[in-house]
């Protein structure tokens, strides 16, 4: 690991002087590099210990990048912007790697601030990238990229901000507000992932007829959406909107199956048990229209609300706490959707119906409509915009 001259920045990959000149998006050498990266990480011997590493390697595999390339191409000529400065979250170990790939694919040089907390995944990915970049054919990319680590330090953040062509901040609101004090050059762009609220629609009519095997499958998918990141990812659901007839029996079947999955797969640290319970008590005090609270041990809390208002986005579950609302028809919830709403996961309802709901009600929120189980699938389209297109410029040739 190299240390910078001021000794506060650790260079996990690359070094201080980086080449800020861009490449065309999806340049051949970039795609080759990502393919190699995917293969190398996939061959890492302890890969099974880290499902998130596996997801990452699967995501940047050749076929997926080719698919993105195809979707990207629209006949216009593009180039990367220059230098992208990424500030990535410390509690999702692989997020920094996705952010890097976003920047690279668009043709940019990248300075990626990796989590200051230690995650083995970070080390594995950085080491693999470093080794790959030492191969001669990637020397062009090598000069363009650096992965750095530093304890929160305004001077350093300020310095990198002042020289970047794009700054990418992976939230939340407080971080964005803090970092925004440090100006970026006038022409530079900013991509900020602000705090978001996500929810889930389940159709009880469809659940009534569900087969045991499919139910189990659904429960596991729901579990992945909600629990894998402690219900603390921007796309993890907090609110469950029940469509169709209001029937506790059907709901119970669903929740019991979720509970079984939680018991099997989730372990909560004692301190987080206290936090989860404290959060529940807080919400019980602060919410005025609670119909009922059901607790499945400390594995799963259900809080059903009688009425739903726009302040529902303040009710964020923790470690598996869900607010439930019975809704006759989907249009009834249009009043709660603000620009803060990000992902809507669904089961038992046509996606076109949900899309109509968003468009016809002229909603400012809901950026993603995905089936239950895919809430955490990160994509080049995120928070409502195409990251690749935003991170590149068009050369208008006439």
């Amino acid at each position: 690991m190299l240390m910078s001259r001021d000794k506060k920045i650790f260079y996990l990959v690359g070094q201080e002087n980086i080449n800020k000149n861009p490449l065309p998006p999806f340049d051949k050498i970039i795609c080759e590099f990502l393919n190699d990266l995917s293969n190398k990480i996939d061959k890492f011997k302890e890969i099974l210990k880290y499902p998130d590493l596996k997801s990452f390697s699967f995501w940047c595999r050749k076929a997926n990048i080719a698919k993105y390339k195809k979707e990207f191409e629209d006949g216009k000529v593009r180039m990367g912007l220059g230098l992208a400065f990424h500030i990535t979250p410390s509690n999702v170990p692989t997020n920094f790697a996705y952010s890097f790939v976003f920047g690279l694919l668009a043709g940019n040089a990248n300075i990626v601030r990796v989590p200051s907390t230690d995650h083995p995944q970070v080390e594995i990915i950085c080491k693999t990238i470093k080794n790959l970049l030492n191969i001669k054919k990637y020397s062009k990319i090598k000069k363009m990229n650096a992965f750095i680590k530093y304890e929160k330090n305004d001077e350093i953040t300020k310095k990198f901000s002042s020289i970047c062509d794009a700054r990418i901040i992976w939230g939340g609101d407080t971080s964005i507000r803090e970092i925004r004090q440090f100006p970026i050059p006038e022409r530079s762009i900013e991509i900020n992932f602000a705090d978001k609220y996500s929810f889930c629609i389940l159709n009880s009519n469809s659940l009534e007829k569900i087969k045991k095997k499919e139910l189990k499958n659904l429960a596991e998918k729901f579990f992945n959406d909600a629990y894998l990141l402690d219900q603390n990812a921007c796309s993890s659901p907090h609110l469950i909107v029940w469509l169709g007839k209001s029937n506790e029996k059907i709901k119970k079947v669903f929740w019991n199956e979720v509970h079984e999955t939680v018991k099997r797969k989730y372990e909560l640290a004692t301190i987080n048990v206290v936090k989860k319970y404290n959060n529940l008590l807080k919400d019980v005090i602060e919410t005025n229209n609670i119909k009922d609270v059901k607790r499945y041990g400390n594995d799963l809390y259900r809080v059903s609300v009688q009425k739903i208002k726009s302040d529902i986005e303040k009710r964020r579950g923790a470690f598996g706490t869900f607010y439930e609302y019975d809704c006759g028809k989907i249009d009834d919830i249009s009043k709660i959707v603000s620009s803060k709403f990000q992902t809507l996961t669904y089961y038992g309802i046509e996606k076109s119906k949900i899309l109509d709901f968003v468009v016809n009600n002229r909603l400012k929120g809901i950026d993603r409509i995905v089936p239950v189980g895919r809430a955490l699938d990160i994509d080049v389209i995120w928070d409502g915009f195409d990251i690749e297109k935003n991170l590149s410029r068009i050369i208008d040739v006439k």
Binding site: T117, I169, L229, A233, A269, Y277, N278, K282, I285, G297
Partner: protein, 356 residues
């Protein structure tokens, strides 16, 4: 309504499980219903958790509230004009302050109960008292007020009181020596906070190889071991060092929370913490089921004192272990237990802390 005066004639560590259970259940039923009626936030909690306060239940079935809730909300079961004192405490997990509102009755009961419990080791007479702390801790209202409140609370056992440390927490040798000389053959009550005693008293005496002759004294100390665990000082080591530097042989640790001032849990001669007839301890697993004897878990504390705020049943962030009930070799009745320190912090996953 439950009246604490009914218990005041009973020795605090004298009741067996069955007798105590009856008293506890009556008291907790009254207190729970009282807070339900008089604290709207508490009412929302019980309603939310589907708990019927009009039904008599086992103590272990009454919902507990978390200590953090006293940071997030102002919880009180009295009118504003009845507040005579507000105790604040920073706790450890975040920077917000807990606020505990006392009326005359609850404040008086805190003193009554503390007196009963502490006199079981000090006797009924007031004693010359050395507080191992600085006088500033009670003079300055902005100082750690829970610390100040505890010092004030324990001061009622002293008839002549000195503070052993100056405002920079340095030992006032001359003052202590003069005091020791004056009370040469008497029992002296020494009181202080565990960490301050260690850091600013024992440690200094050891380093300067000094000895303060206090062998007839009784030391009571509390406030938690968190910082001492970092320095790997156990209760036994603490006692040995006290003996080495002052000759004090009778050393009692106490465990308590600012939310339940008064009904402290006091260490016995065998080194175990005991609940009295005013308090109870339940150790809980991660799913909140009750731990068996010898199992470690979260400490739930019960006190029959709080009437002005709903703090009678509380879940702490400490890890404890029940050692037994009614059969401690020291002869005292009640549950006895051990505290293993605070719950370890754990990472929360998620994606909203990019700049930390």
């Amino acid at each position: 309504m439950f009246d604490i005066n009914k218990l005041i004639t009973i020795p605090p560590f004298s009741l067996k499980k069955k007798e105590k259970q009856k008293i506890m259940e009556d008291a907790l039923f009254d207190l729970t219903y009282h807070h339900y009626k008089n604290c709207s936030k508490y009412q929302k909690i019980l309603d939310g958790l589907n708990y019927n306060p009009k039904k008599r239940n086992k103590a272990s079935e009454i919902p507990f509230i978390t200590t953090n809730l006293f940071k997030d909300f102002e919880l009180k079961s009295i009118n504003k004009n009845e507040i005579i004192k507000t105790i604040t405490s920073s706790g450890t997990s975040n920077s917000d302050l807990s606020k505990i509102f006392l009326d005359r009755l609850t404040a008086t009961n805190q003193t009554k109960v503390l007196t009963k419990i502490v006199s079981s080791v000090l006797g009924n007479k007031r004693l010359p008292m050395i507080i191992i702390d600085t006088e500033e801790s009670i003079a300055n209202r902005n100082f750690f007020s829970a610390r100040g409140a505890a010092i004030k609370g324990f001061s009622i056992f002293g008839n002549e009181i000195i503070f052993a440390l100056d405002k920079n927490l340095r030992i006032k040798y001359d003052v202590i020596k003069k005091f020791c000389k004056k009370h040469n053959n008497e029992k002296i009550f020494v009181f202080g906070f565990t960490f301050i005693i260690f850091k600013n008293f024992i440690d200094k005496l050891l380093k300067t190889k000094k000895f303060l002759p206090l062998s007839k004294s009784v030391l009571i100390h509390g406030g938690g071991w968190k910082k001492l665990i970092d320095e790997s000082v156990t209760n036994n080591k603490f006692k040995n060092l006290i003996k080495k530097t002052t000759g004090i042989k009778r050393v009692y640790n106490y465990y308590g929370m600012v939310e339940q001032t008064g009904s402290i849990l006091l260490e016995c001669d065998k080194g175990n913490l005991h609940s009295s007839i005013y308090s109870d301890v339940i150790i809980r697993n991660n799913d909140f089921s009750e731990c068996k004897i010898g199992q470690k878990g979260l400490v739930q504390l019960i006190s029959v004192i709080p009437q002005s705020y709903p703090g009678h049943v509380i879940l702490s962030e400490d890890i404890g272990e029940l050692l037994g009930e009614d059969n401690c070799k020291c002869g005292l009745k009640g549950k006895y237990f051990k505290i293993h320190g605070r719950v370890k912090n754990a990472e929360i996953r998620g994606c909203s802390d990019a700049y930390e």
